[in-house]
């Protein structure tokens, strides 16, 4: 399998490696599609550790993380959850969008995230001391915050924090070229469009265009799609449902990539 492509933007790789070496948990903040998950996957490969990814949501219970008893023909048996697996055998447990999880669920992380590094499992009566290669990584998107959905300060203060943002123009261009197969010039155009759309974020549109969407656009173009059409379907339509906003974004795309007549 080919290695996950990740281009560092700053000192995040060194910091992550240092944290892994010192058994410190890491919190990654950043907007949608800026490369948080990709980074963790790349780090997992780099460090030679498995990555157990859990996408958090409203109904995620502690049992979903830790594990539960199941029944088969021989009776009941215990099944480890992703967190327990990582704790037992080593690896990176990555909780994506941790803010979405219920607060009483994330409390199970407390004893793992501090100096104790243990996971008590009430149901089996076990107290597992974390494998030396176990690492806890959580991420969230600060843009999504609802009044009652902040991260508990007591949880937040157990992590080393990294803030991600959309990559710098040159880096983003390189990523798009590598990931989608378009040429440098088209990639630069896509990055320029993204740069302009990102000026609208927060005030006029909820969330700006992600690197991921730019790669999608690049892939469509590399596949032979008309650049204008590719941008409309992968960038414009995904960003808003409001007519005014759509019209202006469309205008912007048409200024960068002239609409071809036969389409």
């Amino acid at each position: 399998m080919s290695k996950t492509y990740y281009l560092p933007q700053g000192n995040e790789v060194e910091l992550f490696k240092a944290a892994a070496g010192m058994n410190l948990p890491v919190l990654i903040k950043g907007p949608t599609g800026c490369g948080k998950t990709r980074f963790v996957e790349a780090m997992g490969e780099e460090l030679g550790r498995d990555v157990y990814t859990v996408v958090c949501h409203d109904d995620l219970s502690a049992a979903d993380l830790v594990g539960r008893h199941l029944i088969d023909e021989n009776g009941t048996y215990w099944q480890d959850g992703p967190l327990t697996k990582a704790v037992r055998h080593g690896g990176i447990c990555y909780l994506d969008e941790i803010i979405e999880a219920r607060k009483d669920t994330t409390v199970v992380l407390h004893s793992l995230a501090d100096y104790r590094r243990v996971l008590p499992i009430d149901r089996t009566g076990e107290v597992i001391t974390a494998h030396p290669d176990f690492m806890l990584v959580v991420s969230y998107n600060p843009g999504y915050q609802n009044v009652l959905k902040g991260m508990k300060p007591s949880t937040k203060q157990r992590f080393i924090s990294l803030t991600f943002n959309y990559p710098k123009a040159e880096i983003e261009t390189e990523v798009i070229v590598k990931e989608s197969g378009v040429d440098q010039k088209i990639a630069q155009k896509l990055v320029a469009i993204a740069g302009e759309i990102r000026q609208l974020s927060d005030s006029d549109i909820q969330e700006a265009v992600s690197t991921r969407l730019l790669i999608y656009a690049g892939k469509l173009i590399a596949h032979g799609f008309d650049p204008y059409q590719a941008c409309i379907h992968s960038i414009v339509e995904s960003l808003s449902d409001e007519e005014d906003v759509l019209a202006v974004l469309e205008k912007l795309i048409s200024l960068h990539f002239i609409k071809s007549i036969h389409v």
Binding site: G75, V147, L148, P153, E196, Q199, D204, A247, V248, L255
Partner: protein, 588 residues
């Protein structure tokens, strides 16, 4: 009859002289929203507003028909200043609608990139045009077409060549160019003038405002005359160009003046203050009633953000905390009781939103999972045997601070009997009642200001006080007055919220309009300071949310609060009902 013929002739000759394609015209009003977004897209400053510009006169050679018809002297040109950008009300230079529309977008793109003054007008416009056509193939297409077309159709434009250093405003104006600010050479009443105490609020009680930037000139009209007319009234053939459009007063709104002002080329401003401001001042000084406003201490100072200097003015604003004494405790007014009953049923629904508690020795339901656990356990005697689960009310752990704007503008009437302030009072009562029943912690403050020297910060209920008849009495005693220095109010509230121990903190701002004060705290300055204050609030981990009853407010609110942090209520009468609903949605 004479008049009719004259009108007809004028219409005919003007039409003949005009080279515009009226049928293909695109108006600013139709695409204003899109233009604004486009301006933001290209990195234009978000606090700037888009306006329609007025004609400006330019000395240039005219064709015979133009001279005949009296046209060709004035032009609608695009320009900008600190506060906004100004565009023609309509564009029709090209024979196709798409090109006329594109013309607007072109001007916006130019404006987002250019800083132009009287000296660099030609070089700057050429530089930015080049930049745009290099970056955007779409603009390149438009530019090549329009250059060719305009040169052919307007031979006068051939005088504007990149090589001609002498190009200036006085050439035939290029419709694709951006021009220097309209009033740069005139001495205008500076909005930064801090001595200008008597000026009234600009938009107060107006049904209509002149949304057009006018060239202005100031005259010295302070000299008293004895009223003797030195000319014969019948010699006035046309509308005098000295119509009094009173910038100083706005109580008596003269619609004729507004109508005439639109037609005028230049507006002359007088410096004489209307007597009205003196009267208003007296009104403000009269103590309202027996309720005594008691200041708590001498007040303290906080910072304010100056966007021009890009720094905080340290200890610039004086906050005066005030509490009303001798207010009469009252019960929830009868008119609100019915509404409260309705809201209560919604609150009950919220209480259903509870969390599950597992593994209890007793409880509402049997938890099958823990039963399976028990069955699967090797050593059953050691099992805690807790097979029950129950649902408990969610711990909300909320602190909410409501900050209400009680500036004089809230005195404005919604109907003959109801004023905005009445609705704010009702809303505060219903809302307090709801929060009290939800058992969420909350505090209520109101604010109003007179310049930076006095921001009244009125305590209605602090976090420690219990909600009671006394609090209702204080809400009832709220009196509107003065102006809206919103940044200061927000900073002070954030300080109070920051001290609260709750995990979730909400700052609810209840306002009826833009930030404004008599000094420079108006327009962009006020908006930028408020925005900064909001950023500070967010940094403290407090969630700000603004509820406004200003219909025009949508323009600047996303810029101030971010997209999902505000609500506009078009009908102020609905405020008491809507406020608790918004809160419930926010904290569900």
């Amino acid at each position: 009859m004479d008049e009719k013929v004259g009108k007809f002739w004028d219409h005919y000759v003007t039409k003949k002289a005009s080279r515009l394609f009226k049928a293909e015209e695109v108006t600013f009003a139709d695409i204003a929203k899109g233009l604004k977004l486009f301006y933001h897209l290209l990195g234009g400053e978000k606090a700037k507003e888009l306006h329609i510009t007025d004609k400006r006169s330019i000395q240039t050679s005219r064709t015979l028909t133009e001279r005949f018809s009296g046209t060709g002297k004035t032009f609608f040109l695009a320009w900008q200043d600190e506060k906004g950008i100004y565009l023609p009300a309509s564009l029709a230079y090209f024979p196709a609608k798409t090109h006329n529309k594109m013309h607007y977008y072109w001007l916006i793109a130019m404006l987002a990139n250019i800083t132009v003054n009287r000296q660099n007008i030609s070089s700057e416009n050429i530089r930015v045009s080049d930049l745009l056509i290099k970056k955007y193939p779409g603009f390149r297409e438009f530019y090549t077409y329009s250059q060719r077309y305009l040169r052919e159709y307007y031979p006068e434009l051939s005088t504007i060549e990149p090589s001609l250093e002498a190009s200036s405003v006085d050439n035939y104006p290029n419709p694709l160019w951006i021009y220097p600010p309209l009033a740069s050479s005139n001495k205008l009443l500076s909005s930064d003038d801090e001595e200008e105490v008597h000026r009234q609020r600009d938009e107060e009680n107006k049904t209509e405002i002149l949304k057009m930037k006018k060239k202005s000139e100031q005259i010295d009209d302070k000299k008293e005359t004895d009223g003797l007319l030195l000319f014969l009234p019948e010699s006035i053939m046309s509308l005098m160009e000295q119509v009094r459009v009173d910038r100083q007063e706005n109580d008596s709104f003269d619609e004729d003046a507004l109508y005439n002002a639109e037609d005028l080329e230049e507006i002359t401003l007088g410096q004489k203050d209307a007597n009205l401001s003196a009267r208003i001042k007296m009104d403000l000084d009269i103590s309202a009633n027996s309720v005594e406003e008691y200041p708590l201490g001498k007040g303290h100072f906080i910072d304010e953000w100056d966007y021009k200097k890009e720094l905080y003015l340290k200890n610039y604003v004086c906050i005066k905390s005030i509490i009303s004494l001798h207010t009469e405790p009252i019960e929830l007014p009868k008119r609100l009781q019915k509404m409260m009953r309705r809201i209560q049923s919604e609150l009950d629904l919220m209480e259903l939103n509870r969390i599950k508690r597992d593994n209890l020795p007793y409880g509402d339901e049997i938890n099958i999972e823990s039963w399976i656990d028990y069955k699967g356990h090797q050593n059953r005697s050691n099992h805690p045997q807790r097979f029950f689960q129950t649902y408990e009310r969610k711990m909300r752990d909320m602190s909410t601070l409501i900050l209400a704007d009680v500036s004089l503008s809230t005195e404005a009437g919604i109907t003959q009997e109801i004023r905005v302030i009445d609705m704010i009072q009702d809303a505060l009562m219903v809302f307090s009642e709801s929060l009290h029943r939800l058992r969420d912690r909350f505090a209520i403050y109101t604010f109003s200001s007179i310049k930076n020297t006095k921001v009244n910060f009125h305590i209605i209920k602090n976090f420690k006080e219990n909600y009671s008849d006394t609090i209702r009495g204080r809400i009832h005693a709220i009196k509107p007055g003065y102006y809206t220095r919103m940044g200061a109010g927000i900073r002070e509230s954030a300080k109070i919220l920051d001290k609260q121990q709750s995990a979730n903190k909400l700052l609810l701002i209840l306002s009826d309009g833009k930030p404004n004060d008599v000094d420079r705290y108006d327009g962009r300055y006020g908006i930028e300071d408020t925005k900064k204050a909001i950023e500070e609030v967010k940094k403290k981990g407090i969630t700000p949310f603004c509820i406004t009853i200003d219909i025009d407010a949508k323009e600047y609110l996303p810029y101030l609060f971010g997209r999902n942090s505000y609500a506009v209520i078009r009908d102020a009468k609905k405020l008491p009902k809507v406020l608790p609903e918004i809160y419930m949605n926010l904290t569900k």
